[in-house]
């Protein structure tokens, strides 16, 4: 079975205002198998977020190719990349990025609104996900009324709503206490697994990284496979 996501010799350079060149990623080559869970570890600034951004088509590599479901993202125009992201990827962010003026349920439904999905089935699925993540009673609450752990669970529901093939999570527990972090991560892994989604997540935590089937380590932009 072909990999869901592949990095082929991917490098990403940034130029500072002073003209200096920063290597966020250096010649990364790796693959993520369908249905697997991969944790990316590394220090701050090691390139974890850059790797995830490239995988999501939010950023473009300076060289090399990012291949999602057999298609090279960098060869696609912006609109096509956007649609790939919409239809194939679910994103979970460290800082949740929920819309404060919407309820928990409405936040979960945002991807459906973006894609123009039918309201009824989408809402049914959103409620099921919220239920699955223990938030059935908070569906109508505004997100400002939720705790950090609850917010991140809402964000997980949002990421999974449209049954993406790939879920990318950037430090999904970085803004939570240990207990909540552990719980959210376990739920994310479990539900992604139930959905058959592939999960690639970045984390500082060795413990949380240990929950994944595969671990990658980034050091100054160089990818090393961890044992």
């Amino acid at each position: 079975m072909p990999p869901v996501l592949a990095f082929r010799g991917v490098s990403r350079l940034y130029r500072t205002a002073g003209g200096a060149v920063l290597h966020a990623l250096r010649d990364v080559t790796a693959e993520v198998e369908a249905g697997s869970a991969v944790a990316v570890t590394g220090r701050s600034g090691s390139g974890k977020s850059t790797l995830l951004h490239l995988a999501a088509g939010i950023d473009e590599p300076s060289s090399g190719e990012v291949i999602l479901a057999g298609r090279a993202l960098s060869s696609l125009p912006d609109r096509a990349r956007t649609l790939v992201r919409r239809d194939a990827i679910g994103l979970v962010f460290q800082f949740f990025h929920l819309l404060p003026h919407l309820s928990a349920l409405e936040n979960v439904l945002v991807p459906a609104a973006v894609a123009g999905d039918a309201q009824g089935p989408a809402e049914e699925r959103a409620r099921a996900l919220l239920d699955r993540l223990g938030l059935a009673g908070r569906a109508e609450d505004r997100v400002q009324q939720l705790s950090g752990g609850e917010m991140q669970r809402v964000a997980v529901c949002r990421a999974l709503l449209r049954r993406p093939r790939l879920v990318l999570a950037d430090e999904p527990t970085g803004n939570l206490d240990d207990e909540n972090g552990q719980r959210v991560m376990e739920l994310l892994l479990a539900v992604a697994g139930e959905q058959g989604a592939t999960l690639l997540y970045a984390t500082h935590s060795r413990e949380l990284a240990g929950l994944a089937g595969e671990r990658w380590h980034l050091h100054s932009g160089v990818l090393e496979r961890a044992a």
């Binding site: 950023d59 992201r85 800082f95 003026h101 973006v114 123009g116």
Partner: protein, 866 residues
């Protein structure tokens, strides 16, 4: 520290070019509105004052007739009064120049029925006839005249028939040179004048009319005016310090036959005449400034939201509250200064563009001189600076104080403005309601005070924007749309209260003004059309090109009257005489008409009183008074009107009050015989012909013109006259429309500003949508929805407020301030068209912010992005 703070402010201004540009545009348009109106107001008074100075020069006093005329034998009495150093007799006659269009001459006159020979005054020259005001002076008088004639000029002026000196300005405009013959008419008389010299009146008084011309008094009396009659005697006191005492002595000696005034008193009279007109325009222009203030407020708020953390850091490292306040106000002041710099030339241009329309109103409605030139004085520049910079600082004070008041941690914290705005929406709504209720109470308590209606109108205008946040908040309860697009943008407006409410409030104010004034003007127009229909019954109207401003010299000659009597198909002729007189100290237009004509009562629309009885009383020596006069002087049928007649003050019973929309200061109507008894015999100034059924009015008009080839007459059919009246009506409101448009442009700029703020402040949210797979087109549509939604909310709040405003304008302000009652009309199609235009303008204003928003990269997501 101060340098660093100022540098930060400069950086902020440079970094937010689009926001700065819109704020500056808002201030500029607000300043331009106020400044243009002040320039026009000043020009209107300046033209009058300039005319006084150019004609009367160093004279300490002017003696004027209560009925416009003075008998010549008054001059020896004046000269014989102790303390009179010199006296110059003057006769001033308006003449129409044949075949010359006039640039500002719009004196077609909206008071057409008067021109028709019935109610008071009104239409005169065709809308484009150039007229001169010829001043006949005793050129040998011992008083030094304010102007000098060229060498040999006096001898020529006295000796050459038709010798006239004109201003270089009018000569250049008309292409005249010394020696040229110019055909003019005074009443139906045609006369050829010869340009004898050029006299620069505007060197003496820059705002004086270039239409002034000078002739020898005797020549004016013989050729253009009336022999033995004067219009004015200018007096120089022998003792310059004794002018006041001399005025008293002269007044005591002349008694009821004349009034003695100083140049300053005459200017004050003109100010009084124009006060309502000027206040009306000033109030309207201030609304544009208010809407501009909204923009500055919004821009300041946006800048502070963006720099909240920076300000918090500054406070942490020791910046005082005063320094933060100073920094913000300095920024706002800079915006105001930039806006003022742009607004001053814009205001001047707007004034220049509207001088013609305002001049038309001044001449036709107030019988004053039109604006000669628009002048930007240092005082007006200072006013513009005060209004622009001061207004901007006032608009920025609230957000600046809010930022300065907060402690450093609060500035650094994540407490959002949104929360504060949501909490404040209810309070603002309550405050708006309280403001409106307070204004209503004050207005009701001071109902007899004419400006009380303005208090209520101001309350409505102020309350409208305060309702905007609460109205927007309702959106948050609307279900989230199924798709990310226009409706989504609309739904999420409530989530953007701080910037959205200000923009919606600005649109609401502008729409309220737009709708209110539109309804008022439509009501006025409908009223005038109905009034014309009810009172304009004759088939053909005859007047002269120079008939204007109540000058009784512009009369129809016996030959003209004879021809009219012979015109085919004429069954009745209605004659009118009119003059500008005084009811007590109030200047009014007085007209004499044929009250004995069959069915005469059908030609006057009475506001109170029985038409049959009123006409009978009119024939018996009573008078009808116009509605504005009745309201302003507190008169009613059954009472008595005191008029200054040729024989002194005399009381006339009031038979009724009639509708009149031509003379704001008031008008009086009496039978021709009563008129002759009060003011002396004389020829008519206008005639109206009633034709037998089936006779073509245009054919009769053509017949009259053909029968009078040597006479200056204007012959118009009923239909033509009506069209001219309505044309002038539209001109009267041209400035109003410009001010409405400026207010609306500022409001639409406010929408663009609000959306730009959102595109910038909410980049995180946009990036999230992009990260979740939203296309650029979707984000553009979200912004389009927000822009159109803001306009929609502006309309939703502004329309009811506009309807309320219209009610106040129609039911309270117009009757109390101008004296006329209007029939309320709701121009729904026009309002709907305006609404569509506002929505379209908002959609266009959303394009640039929408494009910018759509370019937000998904990678923009950061920790504090949402």
């Amino acid at each position: 520290m101060r340098t660093a703070l100022l540098r930060a402010a400069g950086k902020e201004l440079r970094a937010s070019r689009a926001l700065v540009l819109l704020s500056v545009a808002g201030v500029a348009l607000g300043v331009a509105s106020v400044l243009s109106i002040q320039i026009l107001n000043r020009g209107a008074l300046g033209a009058f004052e300039g005319g006084v100075r150019a004609v009367s020069g160093e004279a300490d006093l002017s003696i004027l007739g209560w009925t416009g005329r003075l008998p010549e034998d008054l001059l020896p009495e004046v000269l014989g009064t102790p303390g009179v150093g010199a006296a110059v007799p003057l006769q001033r006659v308006e003449v129409a120049v044949e075949g010359r269009p006039g640039p500002f001459d719009l004196a077609g006159g909206p008071a057409a029925p008067q021109a028709a020979g019935r109610t008071g005054r009104g239409s005169s020259a065709s809308p484009s006839t150039l007229t001169l005001e010829v001043v006949g002076a005793d050129l040998l008088a011992p008083l030094r005249l304010p102007w000098t004639l060229p060498r040999g000029g006096v001898a020529a002026a006295l000796g050459e028939p038709g010798w006239v000196a004109v201003s270089p300005g009018i000569a250049a405009e008309a292409g005249w040179r010394v020696g040229d013959a110019v055909a003019v008419s005074s009443g139906s008389r045609r006369v050829v004048l010869r340009i004898g010299a050029l006299v620069d009146f505007q060197r003496i008084a820059p705002l004086a009319s270039r239409r002034l011309a000078v002739m020898d008094l005797a020549q004016v009396q013989a050729l253009l005016g009336t022999p033995g009659v004067l219009h004015q005697i200018d007096v120089l006191a022998a003792d310059p310090g004794g002018a006041a005492a001399l005025a008293d002595r002269l007044q005591a000696r002349l008694g009821e036959r004349a009034r003695v005034t100083t140049p300053a008193q005459r200017t004050v009279e003109a100010e009084g005449l124009l006060s309502a007109f000027r206040l009306n325009l000033t109030a309207l222009s201030l609304v544009s400034l208010l809407v501009g203030g909204f923009l500055v407020y919004a821009a300041t708020q946006a800048a502070l939201a963006r720099r909240r953390e920076e300000l918090g850091l500054l406070r942490c490292v020791g910046a005082t509250r005063g320094q933060v306040l100073g920094l913000v106000l300095a920024e706002v002041g800079a915006l105001g200064a930039l806006g003022t710099a742009a607004g001053i030339p814009l205001g001047w241009l707007a004034a220049r563009a509207n001088a013609g329309a305002v001049s038309g109103t001044l001449r036709s409605l107030y019988l004053l001189e039109g604006i000669e030139r628009v002048e930007l004085t240092p005082g007006l520049v200072a006013l513009a600076v005060a209004v622009g910079v001061g207004g901007a600082v006032v608009a920025g004070v609230a957000p600046a104080l809010d930022a300065a008041r907060r402690d450093p941690l609060a500035l650094l914290s994540s407490v959002t403005q949104q929360e504060a705005a949501e909490a404040g929406a209810g309070w603002l709504l309550a405050a708006g309601g309280a403001l409106l209720a307070g204004a209503a109470v004050v207005s009701a308590a001071t109902a007899r005070w004419p400006p009380s209606g303005f208090v209520l109108a101001a309350g409505i205008v102020a309350a409208a924007p305060l309702a905007a946040p609460a109205a927007l908040r309702v959106l948050a309860r609307v279900p989230v749309p199924r798709r990310l697009g226009v409706r989504w943008g609309l739904r999420t407006l409530g989530a953007r209260l701080p910037s959205a409410a200000v923009a919606a409030g600005a649109v609401a104010v502008a729409v309220a003004m737009l709708a209110g004034i539109t309804i008022m003007v439509a009501s006025f127009r409908t009223t005038v059309v109905r009034w014309l229909g009810a009172t304009l019954r004759a088939d053909v109207y005859v007047t002269t090109p120079s008939w204007r401003r109540g000058r009784s010299e512009a009369t129809l000659s016996p030959r003209v009257l004879d021809a009219l009597g012979r015109a085919p198909g004429v069954v009745a002729t209605d004659l009118l005489r009119q003059l500008a007189g005084y009811a007590g100290a109030r200047r009014v237009s007085i007209a004499g008409v044929e009250a004995g004509l069959p069915a005469a009562e059908g030609r006057v629309a009475l506001a109170s009183g029985d038409p049959h009885t009123a006409l009978r009383l009119l024939r018996e020596g009573a008078v009808l008074i116009s509605e504005p006069l009745a309201r302003k002087a507190g008169l009613a049928p059954g009472g008595s009107l005191s008029l200054r007649t040729a024989d002194g003050e005399r009381g006339f019973p009031i038979a009724g009050v009639y509708y009149d929309y031509g003379a704001e200061q008031g008008a009086v109507l009496m039978d021709l015989r009563t008129f002759a008894g009060a003011f002396g015999p004389g020829p008519p100034t206008n005639a109206a012909l009633y034709l037998a059924p089936g006779v073509d009015p245009e054919a009769v008009a053509a017949w009259v013109r053909a029968a009078l080839p040597g006479d200056a007459v204007l012959v118009r059919s009923n239909r033509t006259l009506r069209a001219e009246v309505l044309d002038v009506f539209e001109q009267t409101f041209a400035v109003t429309r410009l001010l409405q448009a400026m207010g609306l442009v500022i409001a639409v700029a406010g929408i663009a500003l609000s959306l730009l703020v959102q595109a910038r402040e909410r980049a995180g949210e946009l990036a999230l949508y992009r990260a979740l797979g939203a296309t650029r087109g979707q984000l553009f549509r979200v912004f389009l929805g927000r822009g159109v939604g803001l306009a929609g909310f502006g309309l939703a709040v502004g329309w009811p407020a506009g309807a309320g405003l219209a009610l106040v304008l129609v039911r309270a302000v117009n009757p109390a301030f101008f004296g006329w009652s209007l029939r309320l009309d709701w121009p729904l199609a026009t309002l709907a068209g305006q609404g569509a235009a506002v929505l379209l303008a908002a959609a266009l204003a959303s394009v640039h912010p929408g494009v910018r928003a759509s370019r937000t990269p998904a990678a923009e997501l950061s920790r504090d992005a949402i």
